[in-house]
């Protein structure tokens, strides 16, 4: 289990997220696993973290900033009432924890501006840690334009709200971003052979509805359709992201992840990989052990 020294690890977003934002037991688990070895990511992984996590936190930030939302309590209640997805509930739990740590009164109208500042600072700190905790492999094969839109280098006296707003507008301009990236060339030319191997493997795969195969089936079905009709989009990248990451991973590094899909994706292209247990499994482990 303990890795050899100086081994290089390439992290999928499913590891980058808990590395930055998981519970202490899971952070400790990852720390024990990676020790002081260098951790690598690509711009694309960075973009996935922004898209899947920081973007959602910014949603709550702007929800809270609305004049119609008077207190933190209102913000959380309205958020939970209207946005019932698992992720959104996790976000409201996160902000409740954050505000509690700062001893903010969720019913006090005066604490709203403090809460906005604290949340903004925390989001900024996550962006800083994302930027500085990992090394870049140095290749940018998809030339993802969204990956260049970041929350880095914000000075304290700048208008954070304005900067976040600008970030969201640029990040959400998928038409413009797509016009600048080369995801189509990535699959149709550069990694055409590997993409076809994925499709071929899918067609031969038994028990496609099994939980460990569902992710892979969804990814490669999406990729197959896109390759047939030539329609790649930022929305599609939400589905086929794991395929991009598996192909971008340097062969000299081990791809670290928690997703079942990589078991297939990495095996097909002979990419070294390691699947970690999910955070909930690590947290539950001490309780189930004798």
């Amino acid at each position: 289990m303990t890795p050899e020294k100086k081994e290089k690890y390439f992290l999928d977003t499913s590891i980058v997220h808990p590395y930055l934002q998981s519970s202490q037991p899971y952070k400790q688990y990852l720390k024990n696993h990676f020790l002081d070895n260098p951790l690598y990511i690509t711009k694309y992984v960075k973009m996935e973290y922004y898209r899947g996590h920081l973007r959602n936190l910014l949603d709550f930030y702007f929800h809270l900033s609305m004049d119609s939302v008077k207190t933190l309590g209102d913000a959380i209640i309205i958020w939970n009432h209207h946005f019932a997805s698992r992720k959104n509930k996790a976000i409201s739990g996160f902000v409740a924890n954050l505000f509690n740590t700062h001893n903010l009164n969720i019913n006090d109208i005066n604490d709203k501006s403090n809460a906005l500042t604290i949340l903004a600072t925390y989001i900024k700190r996550l962006a800083i840690k994302l930027k500085r905790s990992f090394k870049d492999v140095g290749t940018d094969e998809t030339k993802c334009a969204r990956a260049n839109i970041t929350l880095e280098g914000i000075a304290i006296n700048q208008d954070t709200s304005e900067i976040y707003n600008k970030f969201i507008k640029e990040f959400d301009d998928v038409k413009k971003c797509r016009s600048q990236c080369t995801i189509d060339i990535f699959f149709s030319k550069k990694y055409n052979k590997e993409a076809n191997n994925y499709i071929e493997y899918l067609n031969k795969l038994d028990k496609q509805k099994r939980s460990e195969n569902i992710g892979f089936v969804k990814i490669i079905s999406g990729l197959e359709n896109a390759m047939k009709n030539g329609k790649f989009s930022c929305h599609l990248c939400k589905i086929i992201g794991d395929a991009v990451i598996s192909l971008e991973a340097p062969i000299c590094m081990r791809l670290e992840h928690t997703d079942h899909s990589f078991d297939h994706l990495c095996t097909i292209i002979n990419q070294p990989h390691f699947k970690h247990p999910h955070e909930t499994a690590v947290i539950r482990q001490p309780l189930t052990s004798p």
Binding site: H53, I128, G153, I156, H260
Partner: protein
């Protein structure tokens, strides 16, 4: 100090001993009054300039009765009447830092032999209080972002108990190093936060756990 010297006084040296001398001078009553007025809002150097400029404007207006707006840029004209927040002066930032950071450093020093014990609680409470108070009073100082990172790493679920004397010692050294730098650029703040992380303080301790779908 001669009147000429007082006029040539460099206002950027606010808070320097010579400035005090200029206050005392009674040879330039008008300037003295102006500076005295500004002296009450010493932290905001921008206001000082504003007052001096306004005096110059009113003098111009007295010379020529035609209202002069040419000195204003279009942007300033549009923004007339909108209260503008002036960035705090360097002196204000350093005064606030010395007021709040010194007690924080002292507590970080005192807690080292008490790390991991309940006896450290009073020092941690003191650190957390001072960080919040400084965040209220000096929100434009980049150093507060470093302190808020320390706050989260200590306060969340009583994490401070898990840190050892060496970690507190290192955190002390990092805070002291950056507190002495008057102008902190975003890059400095980023470096400081990562240095604190390297010590073993988790500056983003609050989990955002999204259940596994499978």
């Amino acid at each position: 100090m001669t009147p000429e010297a007082a006029f040539k006084f460099d206002y950027t040296n606010v808070g320097e001993p010579e400035r005090e001398e200029a206050y005392q001078s009674d040879t330039t009553p008008e300037i003295k009054t102006t500076i005295k007025g500004v002296g009450e809002v010493l932290p905001f150097r921008g206001r000082e300039r504003e007052v001096v400029e306004k005096k110059a404007e009113s003098y111009d207006a007295a010379e020529d009765e035609t209202p002069k707006l040419s000195f204003q840029s279009e942007r300033d004209y549009i923004r007339q009447g909108v209260p503008q927040l002036q960035p705090p002066s360097q002196e204000f930032i350093m005064i606030m830092r010395s007021h709040f950071v010194n007690p924080i450093l002292k507590s970080l020093d005192s807690i080292q032999p008490l790390a991991g014990t309940s006896a450290g609680a009073a020092y941690i409470a003191d650190i957390l209080n001072n960080i919040h108070r400084m965040a209220q009073r000096s929100p434009s100082d980049g150093f507060i972002e470093i302190l808020l990172a320390v706050y989260d790493s200590l306060a969340f679920q009583g994490q401070w108990v898990t840190y050892n004397p060496e970690q507190f010692k290192n955190a002390y050294a990092i805070l002291k190093k950056y507190a002495e730098r008057p102008l902190l650029k975003p890059n400095d703040v980023e470096k400081a936060i990562m240095e604190i992380e390297k010590v073993g303080f988790d500056t983003t301790p609050i989990p955002l756990v999204i259940e596994d779908k499978s």
